[in-house]
Each structure stands twice: as structure tokens, then as C-alpha cells.
Symmetry: none
Subunit: 184 residues, 6 copies
Amino acid sequence: MPGSVFLKRDPITLRTLEREDVPFLVENSNDPEMRPFTGHRLPDTTERIEATFFDEEGDGVSLLACVDGDPVGLVGLSPRSPTSRTVFGLTGVMEMGLWITPDAQGNGFGRKSAEALITYAFDDLRLHKISARVFDFNELSRALFEESLGFQHEGVQRDEIYLDGSYHDIHYYGLLDAEWSVDG
Amino acid sequence: MPGSVFLKRDPITLRTLEREDVPFLVENSNDPEMRPFTGHRLPDTTERIEATFFDEEGDGVSLLACVDGDPVGLVGLSPRSPTSRTVFGLTGVMEMGLWITPDAQGNGFGRKSAEALITYAFDDLRLHKISARVFDFNELSRALFEESLGFQHEGVQRDEIYLDGSYHDIHYYGLLDAEWSVDG
Amino acid sequence: MPGSVFLKRDPITLRTLEREDVPFLVENSNDPEMRPFTGHRLPDTTERIEATFFDEEGDGVSLLACVDGDPVGLVGLSPRSPTSRTVFGLTGVMEMGLWITPDAQGNGFGRKSAEALITYAFDDLRLHKISARVFDFNELSRALFEESLGFQHEGVQRDEIYLDGSYHDIHYYGLLDAEWSVDG
Amino acid sequence: MPGSVFLKRDPITLRTLEREDVPFLVENSNDPEMRPFTGHRLPDTTERIEATFFDEEGDGVSLLACVDGDPVGLVGLSPRSPTSRTVFGLTGVMEMGLWITPDAQGNGFGRKSAEALITYAFDDLRLHKISARVFDFNELSRALFEESLGFQHEGVQRDEIYLDGSYHDIHYYGLLDAEWSVDG
Amino acid sequence: MPGSVFLKRDPITLRTLEREDVPFLVENSNDPEMRPFTGHRLPDTTERIEATFFDEEGDGVSLLACVDGDPVGLVGLSPRSPTSRTVFGLTGVMEMGLWITPDAQGNGFGRKSAEALITYAFDDLRLHKISARVFDFNELSRALFEESLGFQHEGVQRDEIYLDGSYHDIHYYGLLDAEWSVDG
Amino acid sequence: MPGSVFLKRDPITLRTLEREDVPFLVENSNDPEMRPFTGHRLPDTTERIEATFFDEEGDGVSLLACVDGDPVGLVGLSPRSPTSRTVFGLTGVMEMGLWITPDAQGNGFGRKSAEALITYAFDDLRLHKISARVFDFNELSRALFEESLGFQHEGVQRDEIYLDGSYHDIHYYGLLDAEWSVDG
């Protein structure tokens, strides 16, 4: 049974992460099909995943995307810098992450989840900007950020990641508070 | 129930290690038949094995080789040096380890597991070289590395290990990124 | 007395950081003239600076730029991600940082220091890419990276930092191993 | 003032390392001329060197090579494995390391230091074998081990180290107790 | 359920100690009948026994002697000196300890357990000598070491122990690697 | 300046060890001539010696033997077992150690020091027995214990120590309270 509803955008509910959700996260984090998209490179045990989300969570936000009470993905916001003492920590910019399981894709769940999270981020967290990074081969996510959500394409970090035997670029996107509007 | 699938090469799945797998590791690490091949010399308690794989995991990779959901062995990659501050730490070389339980041997499981791990190591971890050490009496492993997997025989470390009442040589193998090709 | 020489590029020596250098770092990190360029936003005590460079050093490299035995600035390389378990940790990309004190600027010390560090990073640390971020108002650094050192301009992160009463862009640069050549 | 005499082989004395010797170690560990030979890749502060030799000394042996009371180099023996619980820990094999400062080379100091240390290792530590690794470009050390000291060349670990912009081989040597004889 | 099998000599299996075995150890360590033979003089709590075998295990070897899966005693090897930095640490000599519960005595279990442990110690741990101490009144153990196992009687340490109202001698035995042969 | 006088036997004073005496101990512990007699096998730094005598002293007694205020050797008593919880800890037996520097030998200083320490041990520490171990080649010490001090020769521990290229026996001596008489 997933956690409590924190945000809603029909048919999506974004719910608090609970220990019971860990198997869902472990399976998808390690899944060879999902890994290029979730950005995991090393095997993650249940204990490791639990530590990441429960013991070391830091200043970020993680929510489980659910439909009809079943998890379909994960969304979150994380600070741009590992330590809050640098110039990047206090500046009102967070980076957004998002994944939907393969068999739940194609239903607009990613878009709905993102819309709910972005609205929350600007309205409740006083953010000025949300950024996102997407690997070059992830065309679905690139289309989601650029076309569906209206993020600006701010640059291409060449050869930022080594995966599947070669270097890949990372596309960098940004959305300012003033640029955001959504109708539901 | 074993952990999540991380790599696949039919009929092998390489899965994340979980606490539930510890009895399998403890039994095989201590088994008098297996010890000469796994390289254990002293009795290892459950607690000791758990500490090795869960509390002190360091920078290595350990995966459980499974067939039809049942464990048949262990594969892994470990850094060549205990500390990353030495000249050996940043150089893109890791050492591969592998064992298959006696009653699962002879089915090509070791070869399949190794192929999946090697491809992952070169394609996702940006390694330049994978090395392996095999005791002289372990003819199956020597054949696996030299003939099946195409490792180069780089040297014989004379009398590197004392076992079963006398000294034995250790054969040292290496496989460079450019030397690796596998077809499935 | 500064630490031991680690890299040389006449008239610059890049030396190991020692506890004796902390007052120099503390002064410049807090200096109102320097802060917009070093990227510090909050007051840093001596203890905090010591912790950063000596107790929490992590996987980065920090070197004191000196001329005739006197410190004139700081250069360094840091991993793109706080933890090596993510997709960014094993990919051969590090971010370069550099500052020169105001009264030592204009002598090419920054360029010389950068050249020594970059050559070291590609030749000894097996890096594939060095990245750098520069605030939009820091024209000297932008010229240094783009014109003197040959970094590619990979993007403009709009409104990434709030400073001096308004948002500023951050310019993102990258230099691949194959793009680097220096003659002394 | 160097530490106490532990071993002698005229004109060399091998002395215990003391805190007063740390500046000598720090300077040579970081020296750009020496680093390819000492095997250091990252800057080492005084504190780091002190921790290595005094706080984390483990089971190894480190001695300062001196002539007329002045340090000219460092020799040592270290276990082949970071932990004594593995098959490599109890086997009577240690790895020898040795460096002489550039301006003291060419006087046979390395050979004399090695002879004293090897005799001690076999006669007092009950070792069965001493191994050594030498980078391919270090012809002086290769000649020392192969010709002067009588080590057997046991193999070439191809591309084991990345340095100065390319991969280099490491030559692996071994000397068994029964192979050692020295006359003074 | 006892731990994993580490050594076998029919009908004995020597198994790794697990936390589940602690009650068996606690009971026998404190038993008034057993204490003169196990060498305990002070009451030992469960916590104290656990600390001895699990938290402070040091460099020794402890194995549970079992018959048909049930524990009948304990065998072990311990270094002669608490610290490896003394002259006794590197010399290839360990001391053997052994006890069998009263109701399991008289079946040759002690002899079988000792034979398995001694063969392991000489063949896998590269020991040169195994020593043993036995109180003068423990005639069964004295017969076991001298007659059954072939240890040499090396001396009598007069009045080394005060027990049951008077001083007792301790007999000191030794077995060299070259003196050991067993047929099964 | 040596520490306070604790025991006297003309012309010897046995004085408390002070930090100022550490250089004397370090020099003699490491001295290649002395090491076979003091029983040290590995280099001992000043810090290590300080830790042994000041930070980890345990339950033993260590006194500096002095003549005319100058140190000529060291005497001590140590418990037979590393832990006081075993049968050997509470039994009134301690082991005596003693060394005199080479240039002070031949004056009866060892005998006088031993006599003062033994009398103290029986009279003030309620010991029942003092034991001593001497390497076979140390004829001076064997004569001292057997002939001058009246210890009983209780056994020969064959091949207990590896030194100078071969195994040596250790002679074991004991002196009971009732056997001790000295006239000054």
C-alpha cells in the first residue's frame, strides 16, 4: 500500500515514499532496460536504496507517482550542489528528476506528474528556476521537457556520460518561475 | 528470493546481492571443496560475510549469478588497490572474480556470467582493462579465461600461495577493452 | 612556508595545501571583492575552511598557485557528483575551479596554473573531459576559458545564481582530452 | 635528526621513520620528477603522509635509507593483500618498494638498501618470497631487480597504469628465499 | 542449526561459529565440571562470550566440533602473542585449544577434531609448529596429545596455575610440521 | 634525567620510566646488535615505543636500570596472558624480562637488577612464581637465570622462534617464592 497523497493531478497522485515502496524502487533502479534512463551505473541493494531515500535524503523531495493506488514512477527535486554552503545552494534553483516504468509509459503520466511537481515547486518552495538534464538518446524525455512542459534548452554538455560503450551528450534544460503556466 | 536483475545473458541473470543471499555465500565460502577455488583460508561467520558485502563494500561490484531464480555462483569486480590515492587507483583497471557451485558447473554458467559482467565493465564503467588471477591447479578457470573469454596470459607469479601443504603459482591474466568482443 | 611542489609551469608552482595556508584561503574566501568570483555566499570560519580542505577532501584535487614561494591563488578539480555510485561518478569528467587574488591578476598566472593542471588531469588522471562554470559578469574568466585555454562554450544556464540583488546566468564550458594542446 | 639504526649495510643505515622525517617524505612524494617512480598520482599533504606512515601503518615495514646520517631514500615491505583474512594474507609473500632521491642515485645506495632489507625479510620475518612491481619506463629499477638483486622476471602486466598521457606496462618480479644469496 | 562446514573428518564436522552457538559455549564455559579443563576462572556472561568470539576475534581460528549436526566441543588455534609486533608474532607457531563435553567424551571425537585442525594448520596456514598446554590433572588430554597425536613433551611449567586449593603444573607440548602424519 | 628511584641494590637504582627515557629505549630496541636479545623483530618508532610503555602499559611493571644516574638497561614483569579473564591471569605468575646495554655488560648489573626486582615481586606483589624465557643462543642470560639467580630449567620449547635465518629453541625457566633467597 503506497503512502499518503501529497499532490494530485488526475489521474495521478504523488504520494510520500514509504519503506514498503522500496522493492518497487530497487527493481526499477537495477533493471537493465531502465538503468540508462534512471542514471544508475552500479548495482544497488535494498539496503543501499533505503539509505538513499530514508537515511541520507538531504534537502531533496521524492514522491511516488501512482495511478489507482499503484506506483508507476518516481519524481523528485534535488539541490544543485552537495553542500548548502556554496553559492549554488541558496539560489532558488533545483533540479528535477522523473521516471515512469516502461509499461506505464504513453499515457501522459510523466507529464501530469511533472506538472503537479512544478506547480508545487514554484508555489510552495519559492523556487525561481527548475532545471533538468536528459541524456541525448532519451528522446521521450527531451520531448516532454521541451515541448510538453515548455522548458528552455540551455545547452549541450558534450560527452558528459559514458554508457553502453561510448560517450553521450547531456541536454540541459531550464524553466523559470515566470515561464510556467499550466491549465488542468 | 534473490535480489533484482541487474544484468542478463540467457539463461543467466546477474542479480543484486541481498541479506537473504548471505547463507548461500557463507556455505560456499567455508565449504572445504570450494575453498581452494574461492580463495578463503579462514572460517568466515555469517557476520563476517555480511560485513564484507554490506558494510565494507568499498568501490567494487558483486552480483549473484542465478538460473531460474536460484543462485549458482558469484561474480564481481574489485579495484586493484585498497586505496584510491595510489597510482593504481585511477587507472581504469579492475580485477574480476568468479565462482560457480560444483553441482552447477559444466553448463557454461561461468562463461555466460563472465561475458555479461565484462561487457558491462567496458561499456558502462569505462574500464580499460580487466585482470584475473587463477591458482595453477584450477584448470577449469584457466581454460575459461584463456580459451573461452580470450584473456591474455600475462605471467606466472611463482609460489604466491600456500595451500594444501605446498606452494602454488598464480597465473595472471589480462583483457584490454580493445580485445573484447562477444556475440550472443 | 608553502607546501611541496606538485606541478610546475614557470613562473608558477602548484603546491600541496598545508594547514599553514589556511589563513590565506580564509581571507580570500570571505573577501567581499573576491566572493562573487570564488562562489562563496556565507561567512566561512577557519574551522570550516579547514574541514573542507583537510577533513572532507573527498576525491578532488586542490593546489595552491605560488610565485616565488608566495601564494597567488587556488586551482582544483572536483568530481561532478558527491557520490561515486551515480552515473556521473565513473565517467571521466571533472570540474575545474580557479581563482587568483586581485593584486596578482593581469600577469598570466591564472592561465599558467590552468595549463599545468589541465595537462596533469588528462595525462595522469585519465580524464576524458574538464568542465568549468563561470558567472556572466566574470569576463576575465570567460576570456581565459574560451580564448586562452580553448574550452568550448556549451551553454548558458539562465538565472542560475542570485547575487548582488539580481539573478545572473552561468556559462558552461567543456574541454575534451582530444581538444587539448599546450606549448610551453 | 633521523631515527634509530635498524639495519646496516655500509655505507647505508636503514633507520626507523620518525615524525621529523615527514618533510623529506612529503617533498619527494610530491616532486614532479619523482612521482612517476614513487607511484603517487595525487597531491599528498603533510597530514596525509603522516597518517599513512604513523596512523595507518598496518602490517608493513618502512625504513629510511641514510648515508652519513642524511636521508637518501625509502625502502619498505607491504603485505600483498589489504586484509589478512584472504588467501593472500598468510602465505609468506610481501611486496618490496624502494626509491632513492635523484641526486643520490648512481652510488649503489638502492642496491645496498635492498640487500639489507631482503636479508632481514628472509632471515627474521620468515618470508618465502619477495615480489616487486616496476613501471616499464623505470629502467634503473628494472636493472636493479633483475641484474643486481637476482629477482626472476615473472610477467608483464600490460597497460596496468595510466601516466603521462598513455598506458604503461608493469613488470612483475619475484625472489624466493632459496634464490637469495648476498656477500658483503 | 550450527554454522557452515569448514573441515570434515568423519564423523566430525568442524563448523563456523555463529551467534546461535553462544548458549552452548556459555553453558560449557561456566560449567563447574568443565571449568578446570576449559581454563575459565571467572563467571562469563553471554555478552562476554559473544565479545570474545565475535567482536575481538583477532587472528585466531575457532571452530565448533559437531556430530550429526549437534555440537560436542570446541577447537581452536590462537597466536602465542597478543600483538604481531613482537618476536613471537611472525614465527609460524600457534597454540591449539580443544574441549569436548563430558557426555560426548570417550568416542574419539577430540582426536578426530584435532587431526582435522592440525592438518589444516600445517597445510593451509603455513604453520611450522603447533603447541599445547595441559594441566597436570587432565590425563585424558595429556594422553591425547602425547600418545594419540604424537606431540613432543617439551617441559613442565611448575606451579603455573592455582586451582581447587593448590598449585598445579602445566605440561607443555609441541608438534613440528615435519613430525605430523595422519592416515584416515 | 632519569625518573624517581623505585628500588635500589647498590650500585643499581631501578627508576620509574619517564618520557625522557624514550630515546634510550628506541635506540636499544632497534639496534641490530641488541634486537636478537630484546626480542624485537620490526622497526619501532618513538611513537610506537611511547604507546607501548605509556599508553598501553596494561598490568605490567617496567623499570629503568641505572648506575650513577645513567641508564644501563631495562627490567620488567608482565602477565602471562593478554587478558586477565583466563585461568593464567590470576594465578600469581608473572614473566620477567631484562636487558643490559652491550657496553654495560660484565659488571653484574643484570644480576643486581634482577635481584632487586625479584625480591620486590615476591615481597610486594604477592607473586608465587616468576618465569623467564631465553633464546638458546643467549648464553649470558641462560647462565644468569640458572646459575646466578637459581631459576629451575623447566623445559625447552623447540623451534619457537625464527631469527637470523633459522628456528631457535626457547629455554623456559621458573623460580618459586619458596626457592628465592638473596643476601645483599
